[in-house]
Symmetry: C2
Subunit: 121 residues, 2 copies
DNA sequence: AATCTTAATTAGAATAATTCAAAAATCACC
DNA sequence: GGTGATTTTTGAATTATTCTAATTAAGATT
């Protein structure tokens, strides 16, 4: 854990907005004006490799980063543009919904949903 | 439907390997040597816009294209590198597994799985 | 058939997220 | 405090995709 990695990680822990590498760069710059974008990419890669952070991809958009380690899916709200974490119901197992061939092993799963959330007025 | 679009679409109908734009380009060139990569991108975009073809994204890899219009998810086999279409079980509804907020509307959903399929020996 | 109209294709340049390479800085340990 | 390993920094390279401008093709109209 270097200073820069701690800074990037700390930001992701308190910012659940699923920022892009560039978002992270701009925000970390407030506290470390000399940090470079390449370092942010390096830090994010290190955090992802060590399993502290998830890299989240939406279509061909820039990758976003998420420090929520709970298994969850991503809901992309078309109205606000915001991304929300959605958890599975207790006991839900995705294997129960799919016609997977006998003996298939799942390493990793990514579910993203696009839609509208009810406005909070 | 232009000649080029028909050619690209025909290829995708008979090739379920989820080829990239570049894969499509190389294969269509056999039958239309003068076609350009930009045209392949244009044709794919037109087919996607008109709902005949799905654009499939895996992490940050190049987009792949799929003419299977049945609702399905993608299983990326780590051993072979191949992508397989997996269907939902009858009556399965993803909303039943998720803690979605009251009133959320789903426009679109994408589920990709990475794992190992049993080898077919 | 010749002309007009519109949309599609082509070739090549531009874009933008990400990665890479080399040099400078930092760190860990003796 | 020196030495080797790791990280950061800067700036250049990469690469999938998009854009631009010019050309071609396809239909419709005379
Ligand atoms: Mn963002
Ligand atoms: Mn391919
Ligand atoms: Zn998340
Ligand atoms: Zn498919």
């Amino acid at each position: 854990m270097t200073k820069q990695r701690r800074e990037v990680y700390g930001l992701l822990l308190e910012d659940a907005s699923h920022p892009t590498a560039n978002d992270v760069f701009r925000k970390v710059q407030d506290r470390m004006p000399q940090i470079s974008l390449a370092t942010v990419y390096n830090c994010l890669e290190a955090l992802v490799t060590h399993g502290l952070v998830n890299q989240v991809n939406f279509d061909r958009e820039p990758s976003r980063y998420c420090a929520n380690l709970q298994e969850h899916v991503h809901f992309h709200d078309e109205a606000s543009g915001r991304i929300h974490d959605i958890e599975f119901k207790d006991g839900a197992d995705i294997m129960d919904f799919l016609n997977l061939p006998e003996g298939a092993e799942i390493t990793e799963m990514e579910l993203t949903i696009r839609g509208k959330l009810p406005s909070r007025d």
